[in-house]
């Protein structure tokens, strides 16, 4: 077997005295949906923030192997992880550019590519034709994802005016416009109605199968997880308590205990952010 797309080894993240993530190791493979689940405050978002470079892990190694080139994520800045290692992410509390239009959101996502095409602005200022071509291609890519996420009709609306479900989909479209090899989604189905949730499953399968992109998915909704994930990792109090295919994980007594909760522990678990 070749290297997995993302290899997380002994990841530990401390905030002062609090150990949010404690010695977690797992792999995520290309063309697979890997779900990270766990009760509130288990440390799921913190794992994402370490992968995306928003936090520097206290201990641990994060290796992303993209076309045979390894990138050591823990040593890279957040924007290099997105730009060079090609890891894209969405946020638990949606982070769009609310006053810009939907289309502009998707064009900003292609910034680095367009920046080079515009000769770092100099050529672009003087209307260099190569830039117009690059921009047209960027719009084509944006249009492709707008169609996939059903946002074509609202492409010229400001992003902040979209309904909640639309904003969630736009955030995924924007992440995909960076042409990532690994897409990290932090609770993409939160707040969606059953129908939107089903559409999201279709979209995620499409991303996995057609774009050979690895998907790392945080999700609370067990039914979503069981339906679409190829591999499930369960965190509880910052530790990994289970790792395996969905069916095996579902019947794991430790997972059931963590989700149903021992009475005295559940109050602590609620304290998570």
């Amino acid at each position: 077997m070749t290297q997995p797309l993302l290899k997380v080894e002994h990841l530990t993240m401390r905030f002062g005295g609090l150990v949010a993530v404690n010695d977690v190791s797992f792999d995520a493979k290309a063309s697979q949906i890997t779900a990270v689940i766990g009760p509130n405050g288990a440390g799921k978002t913190t794992v994402f923030n370490c992968i995306a470079g928003f936090y520097k892990p206290t201990v641990g190694r994060l290796t992303l192997t993209n076309n045979g080139t390894p990138h050591l994520l823990e040593r890279m800045s957040g924007n290099d992880i997105a730009g060079k290692a090609r890891v894209a992410r969405t946020f638990q509390n949606i982070r769009l550019f609310p006053k810009m239009t939907v289309l502009e959101n998707l064009i900003v996502a292609q910034h680095n590519k367009l920046m080079r095409a515009s000769g770092f602005t100099l050529l672009g200022l003087f209307g260099w034709p190569g830039y117009s071509k690059a921009e047209a291609e960027a719009v084509d890519l944006a249009r492709y994802w707008l169609e996939r996420t059903n946002l074509t009709d609202v492409a010229d609306e400001v992003a902040g005016s979209l309904p909640y479900g639309g904003q969630r989909r736009l955030e995924i479209a924007r992440a995909m416009c960076t042409e990532p090899v690994l897409l990290c989604l932090d609770e993409p189905a939160a707040g969606l109605n059953p129908r939107e949730s089903a559409d999201l499953n279709t979209l995620l399968r499409f991303i996995r199968d057609e774009h050979k992109c690895g998907v790392l998915l945080i999700e609370h909704d067990m039914s979503v997880v069981m339906q679409i994930s190829d591999h499930v990792i369960v965190l509880d109090y910052g530790r990994k308590i289970a790792d395996g295919p969905p069916d095996a994980v579902r019947n794991d007594p430790k997972v059931i205990a963590a989700y149903l909760g021992e009475p005295e522990d559940s109050a602590v678990a609620q304290g998570g952010v």
């Binding site: 928003f54 982070r95 769009l96 239009t101 515009s118 672009g124 924007r174």
Partner: protein
């Protein structure tokens, strides 16, 4: 509100005004030869109370009237609740017709019948502020970086121009790019360490930077001339043809070139067109760069820095470019200022200048090019108009600012035109792709 309630409210406001007015305007110090004497002016307090009483009453009535008007409209047409206000619509149209109209007016202004020396001079001052506003707009309006020390770059441009033209004999057109470049370099030097800071912190650091530059200008005697400043800065020539009644041997003066009678107003008009051209270049540049990746990244950064990082945008570099380019235009404006005045001193670059420029950007409606013109005209002409009441100038200035902020917190013409569209023939025609 009933009439009694309104009256009570107005009397309360008048009482507060009288109380405040007692120490503020109730006493006047007079020179009695020996120690300072104090004269009371209780009549002034009465005036203040009456004015506040009437004003408050009028305001209440106006508010009630507006509310009932709104309610009537909502009842009549329930769909019309988010009826667009005049200025919002104006803001949307501004880029399309307001700008061309204003530019057209600016071009013909010196030849209109009312245009005398004073008017053209005033126009020049307005245009300097328009240019500064447009320059700062790149930093504050587009990139969302609150810069309270913009005047520092204006000063760097002015002093660069003065030094280079006086000691090295550089002409205006040679010095202009150098002054801009140096100001931009200062922008990068300042920006590099501080652009990690956000919001208020950045504002404080830039404020400090503005003061540091002023203090350096005051104290670096050999180069800047200290508090006395630099005088005798060469006046601009018309591309090598000086504006003078008796040009030096071998040179052709402007009026000889065109076979005109010598008139000192020629230079005033030339300066006016010079700053108009510089301002228009700034505008053109901003309009273009908004549609380029950097421009979009600036706006995205203003909206959400964390999301930008997650998309691979380097926030520090992107902010630095905004800071440097904004500084460059400040430097250009400074050069113009130096050559127009012929004399510069640190006094021209105090914090109040930064504040006025920032006020222009905020009042105009962050990011709105046309709004900045209106705000610049308003803020520079208001003190001129209120010159007779020069004692109350700052008061009027403050009152106007408060009114506008209450009435339109988003600025006069806050409207953002998308930089590109997917459906050009959509609801709003004409906004095609760049």
């Amino acid at each position: 509100m009933t009439v009694a309630e309104r009256l009570k409210d107005a009397i309360m406001a008048a009482a507060v005004a009288a109380l405040l007015a007692l120490p503020l305007i109730g006493f006047e110090t007079v020179d009695t030869g020996g120690p300072l004497g104090i004269k009371t002016r209780f009549d002034y307090i009465a005036y203040a109370a009456i004015v506040v009483f009437l004003g408050r009453l009028g305001m209440r009535i106006a508010f009630d009237w507006r509310r009932s008007y709104r309610e009537r409209i909502v009842q009549a047409e329930p769909t019309n609740i988010d009826r667009k206000e005049l200025l919002t619509v104006l803001g949307q149209k501004a880029d399309k017709w307001l700008m061309p109209v204003m530019i057209g007016f600016a071009i013909v202004m010196p030849f209109l019948p009312f245009a005398n020396r004073t008017v053209i001079d005033l126009g020049t001052v307005v245009l300097i502020y328009v240019m500064l506003g447009w320059g700062l707009n790149i930093v504050v309006g587009l990139a969302g970086l609150l810069d309270l020390g913009y005047v520092a770059f204006y000063a760097v441009g002015a002093y660069t121009f003065a030094t280079l033209s006086m000691h090295f004999g550089f002409g205006f057109w040679e010095t202009l790019p150098l002054a801009g470049l140096l100001a931009a370099t200062f922008g990068v030097v300042l920006g590099f360490p501080v652009l990690r800071l956000r919001g208020d912190y950045l504002a404080i650091v830039t404020l400090g930077f503005g003061e540091i530059i002023r203090v350096i200008l005051l104290n670096w005697q050999p180069v800047t001339g200290g508090p006395a400043g630099i005088s005798g800065i060469p006046r601009p020539s018309f591309f090598g043809f000086p504006f003078s009644a008796d040009p030096p041997e071998g040179a052709t003066a402007f009026h000889q070139l065109f076979g005109l009678e010598y008139a000192s107003i020629h230079r005033i008009i030339f300066l006016y067109y010079l700053i108009l051209a510089l301002a228009l270049v700034t505008n053109l540049f901003t309009m273009r760069i908004r549609k380029l990746p950097v421009g979009r990244a600036w706006e995205a950064l203003r909206e959400d820095e964390i999301a930008c990082t997650a998309l691979g945008i380097n926030p520090t570099n992107t902010k630095l470019t905004a800071f440097a380019i904004g500084a460059m235009f400040g430097g250009f404006a400074g050069s113009f200022f130096a050559t127009r005045q012929g004399f510069i001193s640190p006094e021209s670059f105090s914090f109040i200048e930064s504040a006025v420029i920032l006020a222009i950007v905020v009042l105009g409606g962050m990011g709105s090019q046309a709004g900045i013109v209106l705000a610049a005209a308003f803020l520079t002409l208001l003190p001129e108009v209120a010159r007779e009441f020069s004692l109350f100038r700052m008061l009027a200035f403050g009152a106007a600012m408060v009114l506008i902020m209450v009435w339109r917190p988003q600025g006069l013409l806050a409207h953002r035109e998308p930089t590109m569209r997917l459906h050009p023939a959509g609801t709003k025609p004409g906004g095609g792709k760049p």
